[in-house]
Symmetry: D3
């Protein structure tokens, strides 16, 4: 009855928030990582949305579920359309084959969850 | 009490089915991927069962849990024996070391689940 | 309410134990793998604790959750301090970027769980 | 004196061409893969150039040198600017850390080679 | 004029032989690894050739060039046919997409080299 | 006659140096990455040498040749002994199996090259 994939997505969001203060206080690389992220995803020659979709495509191929949750969310915040998400999945499938298709299910479920939240 | 790994296996099957129509309708690469799969797994110089076991060995080394669920199921449908599954795990462990052994637990649990279902 | 990540960690421990006898009886590579592990983690030029932290750093970069659970536990048994765990995470983040940071959350949550158990 | 990285890039192009007829004749999955590629990289909600840059970012994180050679070339054919290539590297570094930075050297060298060819 | 991929294949064979005595003398895990390999690849429920092809399929998806060289060689020693090699590539492409196709070029070139040697 | 692996190691060093100014000038994430590296590898609860060996173990398992070249070099600069390098290889083999053993050849050859340079 309860959907375990949806629970995983919600837990991913919760863990991200719950561990943030530990990262800030105890992980020396975290502050430069935040600066690095700011540089990586800022609008410049490529806009912010495109960069988030790029990160989403990487996340699918590398099977990084918490990354998919985060970069999908960021892409939607930047007004990515459903079509753009599905075409990001297309590129991931070309690069990663059947394995990428299997992990794209997580993105599709997260997309439905975020659109109806 | 409830076994989370068994729940994950069952959820994997459910997600595969639940996202199928979205893939068909919205993911342009999905139709050629299905054709590609048909070509890859057809009996020819190597038979279907061998190819599914091969895909299972890849899935263990690449830590692709939904792939393990699917290719194990397909291998069993093609009459793979328990011995063949365990020897597939052997090859995965040789190629992937302790990490493959850790992911092989998922295959062993899925095997018990499918055999008793 | 229930924390799914904590459940995953506990399930990982349970699966490790539950599949052990199957591995011993049915997986031919398992006995040499145990011998290999003994050689890999013994105190020699590098001590046992350092080797377990090394294995933990690899586990984060390769996204191997059951490996993180096991090698964190082993490192703590060998008296690794919290500071040493967090610096292992630092090296993993340098090598694996944002993906490693996302998987390090699992280590941080397991650390809290093991410390309060 | 001879630059081995440049030789590798040129060899990558040559191998791609030299093996094409074998793939066409002897690899059953190759024809559906070509169709899959056509679907994945066509201009639609995302344009062709963006999709090639996306594939390039994936290639850096997954350390796929022949993929970098190909998708960089395709991105340049689609009029990607140097700035867009460097920002694709930025996203790859955020996702893949120091390892991605090490593989980005290959992209930078290929970029110089292709621009001066 | 000289083919760098062929040189890489020949160098891979040479490095395997040249480092063997160092591994034997200085790497404690090497002896149990050799025993593990013996167990993994012995003819049992699956025969030796099938297991080598399985290892080859894994090597393509994980982009392990020295592994491709070795397991292809072993498969040919066990009388694998060209058709069986190409179908192993098919399974790898299904699991690994365009990246696997790019690495399969190495297998095809090694196959030609070994057949004409 | 010329050893291609040695050439690759020397080319890796050369590419690292040759692309540095491009990274500095054109890659926005590079400055925060350098700061992140400084934090990750500084002597603190774990000393610099241990952290470099840790990074070397990760590099072997993830098949990152330019990373192996760099972190081996850094470990030797920090006075790592041959025994410590070989035990780092042991941990990598436990985590990565036969694939890690194949990539460890690169480390062994680089070790000989750096020791005799």
């Amino acid at each position: 009855m309860t959907d375990l994939t949806e629970q995983k997505i919600l837990q991913s969001i919760q863990d991200r928030k719950a561990t943030f203060s530990d990262f800030k206080k105890k992980v020396s690389t975290f502050t430069p990582l935040l600066e690095l992220e700011k540089q990586a995803f800022k609008t410049s020659a490529l806009d912010h949305k495109t960069k988030e979709l790029m990160a989403l495509s990487i996340s699918i191929v590398t099977k990084c579920e918490p990354c998919m949750e985060w970069h999908l969310h960021q892409a939607l915040q930047a007004n990515a359309s459903d079509e753009e998400i599905y075409e990001t999945i297309d590129v991931a499938i070309e690069m990663g084959g059947g394995q990428a298709a299997a992990y794209a299910r997580y993105v599709i479920k997260a997309l439905h969850l975020f659109r109806t939240a």
